[in-house]
């Protein structure tokens, strides 16, 4: 049953992307990858402290997993481009999640700067996955810029509030010819399931797993939820019970004398 998600030159079996942020212990990460089945994982780029012995997060990520560095910290397109180039030079592939946030209250992304960064980085050969508010015009500009996918938020980062933007995400799924990967805001496996049922190509879940009491088990649950949602979408839902019919019929006139004979 070939339902692979194609991004760049990768064909992914799992439609759950996960992150490496907010963990109490990075040692949980390999367990989560194993139990959730995730094949794509986000990382961030930060200054190293040369004077201390720090573990490298890459040690916790199996080499078979696709790294998706993000440009977190970037407040504008220039910074995002710089981080992307650094991430690539660090030697972990050419995928990049563009995250340009200059709003520290809600952590909402800047669409304009994201479009500009995408245009530049696509030309430099990156596989660009931009993170945006679900704005159809921004998404169209990203398609034109050559983005490999579009990542609309379901709700503000870390809020775990679910698909507050579901109507707008639905519009993106209908109108945009790229994988729509719901990122941010998913708090429960049922919400990830819902996103997949709607037709999303994948979900990125970080906070909901990292902040769970049992992150490994939660990771497993999310893996299953994304799979279930995807299968439900592919199966094509049947009809539910019939809806109520309003009081006055609109087509009654058709049952009377048909005037078509005059023609």
């Amino acid at each position: 049953m070939d339902d692979l998600l194609e991004i760049g030159d990768k064909k992914l079996e799992s439609r759950l992307f996960t992150g490496t942020g907010k963990y109490g212990s990075d040692a949980l990460i390999p367990e989560i990858i194993k139990e959730s089945g995730a094949q794509v994982i986000t990382v961030a780029l930060r200054r190293m402290n040369p004077d201390s012995e720090e573990d490298n997060i890459l040690d916790y990520i199996p080499k078979t997993i696709q790294l998706l560095p993000n440009t977190s910290g970037a407040r504008n397109s220039n910074e995002a481009v710089r981080i992307a180039r650094l991430a690539r030079a660090a030697g972990c592939g050419n995928w990049i999640k563009i995250e340009v946030i200059s709003d520290n209250k809600y952590l909402l992304p800047d669409g304009y700067e994201t479009i500009r960064a995408t245009e530049i980085l696509v030309k430099e050969g990156f596989v660009v996955l931009p993170y945006i508010s679900p704005d159809l015009m921004v998404a169209r500009a990203l398609v034109n810029a050559g983005a490999a996918a579009v990542m609309p938020l379901g709700a503000p980062i870390g809020s775990n509030r679910g698909l507050k933007t579901r109507e707008l995400i639905r519009i993106l799924i209908d109108e945009i010819d790229l994988p729509i990967i719901v990122d941010a805001g998913i708090g429960k496996p049922s919400q990830a399931c819902e996103a997949m049922e709607m037709g999303a190509a994948a979900c990125l879940v970080n906070t909901a797993i990292a902040s769970a009491e049992n992150p490994v088990l939660m990771g497993k649950a999310f893996g299953r939820a994304v799979k279930a949602g995807r299968e439900a979408y592919l199966a094509g839902p049947g009809s539910t019970s019939s809806h109520a019919v309003a009081s006055s019929p609109l087509t009654g006139f058709l049952n009377g004398n048909e005037s078509q004979e005059e023609n």
């Binding site: 990382v43 660090a90 941010a184």
Partner: protein, 66 residues
């Protein structure tokens, strides 16, 4: 001589290459990316790049993120 490493002033001896510097700090070059005066220095030329007075060096690595 004075150089700026990750925004902080440091004294290092002259004729140090970037690779030497990383080694002296027990930093494996494969696990980081180095920027010298906002230019990314590819790994294979770290050994040949000699640090100059007042150079701004950024050493970055991957960390957890969403």
């Amino acid at each position: 001589m004075n150089v700026i490493i990750n925004g902080k002033n440091e004294e290092i001896i002259r004729e140090t290459s970037l690779l030497d510097f990383l080694t002296s700090k027990k930093i494996h070059p494969d696990k980081v990316v180095v920027e010298l005066n906002t230019t990314i220095i590819e790994k294979h030329i770290l050994a040949d790049t000699i640090i100059q007075e007042n150079d701004r060096i950024e050493i970055l690595r991957f960390v957890g993120g969403g």
